[in-house]
């Protein structure tokens, strides 16, 4: 337990924090291994239980990337909101002279400048206890009376009530409340959306069994559509083909129930497959290749999301992908995202092609989805292999469903869309957000950023790639380019 004081609304407030504080001592010249060695949680105001230790470790990745902070707290409360102090100070209406004063008297450095005179400053790494230093600095600056406001910068973990079903009563992939699973085992969408929700100049193509382009959650986003199966003048699916509609919703869903990760970008729908009555998809290699070419060339798609695959490789498809990757976006290259597959086996075609973004599925516990993972879905597991780039949420994903009662559910929304099919659109959306922030990046750099900014997951590179998608970290990295 720890008492700290700060000013809020002109009054000095004394607040009590409980939980596990964890301080990472950053010292220049120290190896990563040494830093990990001193990364030990300290129990404050109670015994340090094994659960708390685990929780602290889990949250550490999230908060470090979220806040620039190196001191962490694992919330012990199971309901309500946990407020997490950091070593940073948020200053509003800061004059240059006050920022200099903070630097000279408290050793603080600017880590971010916001709009309208907002500045985020961070306590020095060698201050011993960064949180205490931040609180002291904020209080001192406020008491000088020369700024609009100065207070410690908090992170908040909001626990949503009433979520105990295994199904996706929330969009846990975007913001995981830990019920079920682990708080923070998500793509950090809420933080990412403080940077961008996507630019309408960016287009994501969903190549699938069709997209219900008249769906009220999607129709406003549709930029172009084409049918490479039946030659219709739209890309809407037949019968109960709902897969593509769910994929599209993960990217651009407009409503509160199905918020897309990149809802500001535009959708290109290409129908390349149809179902038979026995649970199989029918593809035509040439038509699929033509669809790929249409997506990057005619429909000017920046990102191609592909939740399909299987069978022997086909040059005609590989070459179309390669054209998209090298000639799309006026030579900067379209980003090709491909689902790894759900057989818990080696990644199959086209996910095994080089220079593609191949995506596996993680679950609510921030683990690779396997037939024996905690989620209880024992009928599928994420594919693995050298081709795997990264993981993204792929279990019980709430997404848009085709209209009528022939889809996965009877309404406009399905609560439990599954598979690497649902993981891939998350990464496609993340790529689109990166291009919204930095449209000048080439596709190779977009892939690098996505891979370099992941959160680590248990398992080696062959099983989990570089780790789980962290969109916020990716956008921050993109912004620095």
């Amino acid at each position: 337990m720890r008492y700290l004081e700060y000013y809020s609304e002109g009054k000095l407030r004394r607040v009590r924090f409980t939980g596990v504080f964890e301080t990472v001592q950053k010292k220049r010249g120290r190896s990563l291994a040494a830093r990990r060695a001193i990364h030990k949680p300290q129990a404050l105001g109670g015994a340090l239980t094994r659960t708390m230790k685990r929780q602290a470790k889990r949250l550490s990745t999230r908060f470090r990337k979220l806040s620039e902070a190196t001191t962490l707290i694992a919330p012990t409360a199971t309901v309500g909101t946990t407020v997490v102090p950091t070593e940073t100070v948020a200053i509003d209406g800061a004059r240059v002279s006050e920022v200099r004063w903070m630097r000279s008297h408290h050793g603080m450095e600017i880590v971010r400048e916001g709009r309208h005179g907002k500045v985020l400053m961070k306590a020095p790494d060698d201050s011993g206890d960064g949180i205490v230093a931040a609180f002291a600095g904020a209080r001192a600056l406020q008491e000088r009376g020369n700024v609009g406001a100065a207070h410690p910068n908090f992170l908040r973990v909001v626990q949503r009530p009433g979520q105990s079903s295994r199904h996706a009563s929330s969009q846990w992939a975007l913001d995981n409340p830990g019920s079920p699973g682990v708080i923070g085992a998500d793509v950090h969408a809420l933080a990412a959306w403080t940077i961008t929700e996507g630019d309408s100049a960016v287009r994501v193509a969903v190549l699938d069994e069709g997209v219900d382009t008249l769906h009220p959650h999607l129709r406003d986003s549709v930029a172009a559509e084409a049918d490479f199966v039946d030659g219709n003048d739209h890309a809407r699916p037949n019968g109960n083909d709902a897969h593509g509609t769910a994929c599209a919703g993960i990217v651009v869903g407009k409503r509160k129930q199905t918020r897309g990760l990149a809802r500001g970008v535009r959708l290109v729908a290409a129908r390349i497959a149809k179902s038979d009555s026995q649970g199989f998809w029918i593809f035509d290699d040439f038509e699929t290749a033509d669809a790929i070419d249409w997506c990057w060339d005619d429909a000017k798609s920046d990102v191609l999301s592909n939740s399909w695959g299987g069978g022997h490789p086909a040059d005609v498809i590989s070459r179309a992908f390669e054209r998209a990757r090298t000639r799309g976006r006026a030579g900067k290259g379209a980003v090709i995202v491909i689902a790894a597959g759900n057989d818990q086996a080696e990644v199959d075609f086209p996910g095994n092609l080089p220079e593609m973004m191949t995506v596996g599925a993680s679950n609510q516990w921030d683990k690779r989805k396997t037939r024996t993972s905690e989620d209880g879905e024992n009928w599928w597991g994420s594919n693995f292999g050298d081709a795997l780039d990264l993981m993204a949420p792929g279990v019980s994903i709430r997404a848009t469903d085709i209209r009528g009662n022939r889809g996965y559910s009877s309404g406009l929304v399905t609560p439990d869309f599954n598979g690497t099919s649902s993981a891939a659109p998350h990464v496609a959306a993340a790529a689109a957000l990166i291009l919204s922030v930095k449209p000048t990046l080439d596709e190779y750099r977009v892939r690098e950023i996505l891979n370099e900014t992941t959160d680590p997951l248990p398992g080696g590179k062959r099983l989990v790639g570089h780790g789980r998608l962290n969109v916020y970290a990716a956008l921050r990295a993109a912004r620095r380019e």
């Binding site: 038979d276 199989f280 029918i282 593809f283 035509d284 299987g310 490789p313 086909a314 040059d315 598979g419």
Partner: protein, 172 residues
């Protein structure tokens, strides 16, 4: 027959294995009205039970056991059966079409010569300069596979591939 059971991907041979349970029937290749009516009746009946799948336009995939031997033989003689291959749980049906891509096409190049008087009997379906789509006049998917292999082995273009329709397990 066996030497044809492969195709090229990135210049490498990929072995193909015939599927023993299915037949792909191309109704467009049937000239006899009686034969056409007979097989259409079989397809209609099996489609209702979900045993037959329409792959594209007039091309259907059916279980071999649902098409009796005598009818299969007559269909084969008319060239209405297209080859079905299996790779794991994926079925691949070869269609009578080949797509060829070359780096730079010159008049009188080896690919051009191949389709001249000396070459196989083909129809050029689409000609976009460096991208060419051809059909063997026999209308056979197996001939398309052979043709693509021949082009690959004699001229090493960027790509020469027969057209496949895939039937893959549906994800999600």
């Amino acid at each position: 027959m066996n030497e044809d059971l492969y195709y090229y991907v990135g210049g490498k041979r990929i072995a193909l294995e015939f599927d023993t349970k299915h037949v792909a029937i191309d109704l467009d290749r049937i000239e006899s009205t009686a034969l056409r009516e007979e097989i259409e009746a079989v397809l209609e009946e099996t489609e209702e039970t979900g045993k037959t799948t329409r792959l594209r336009r007039k091309l259907h995939l059916a279980y071999k056991k649902d098409v009796r031997q005598g009818l299969r033989t007559r269909l084969e003689k008319t060239g209405a059966l297209q080859p079905v291959f299996r790779h794991g749980r994926t079925l691949m049906v070869a269609l009578p079409e080949v797509r060829i891509e070359v780096e730079k096409r010159k008049e009188g190049s080896s690919i051009e010569q191949m389709f001249g008087n000396e070459g196989p009997d083909v129809e050029i379906v689409n000609d976009q300069g460096n991208r060419l789509t051809i059909r063997p006049m026999t209308g056979s998917g197996l001939d398309a596979l052979r043709l693509a292999n021949e082009v690959e082995e004699t001229t090493q273009p960027l790509m020469a591939q027969a057209r496949f329709v895939r039937v893959v397990p549906k994800p999600g």
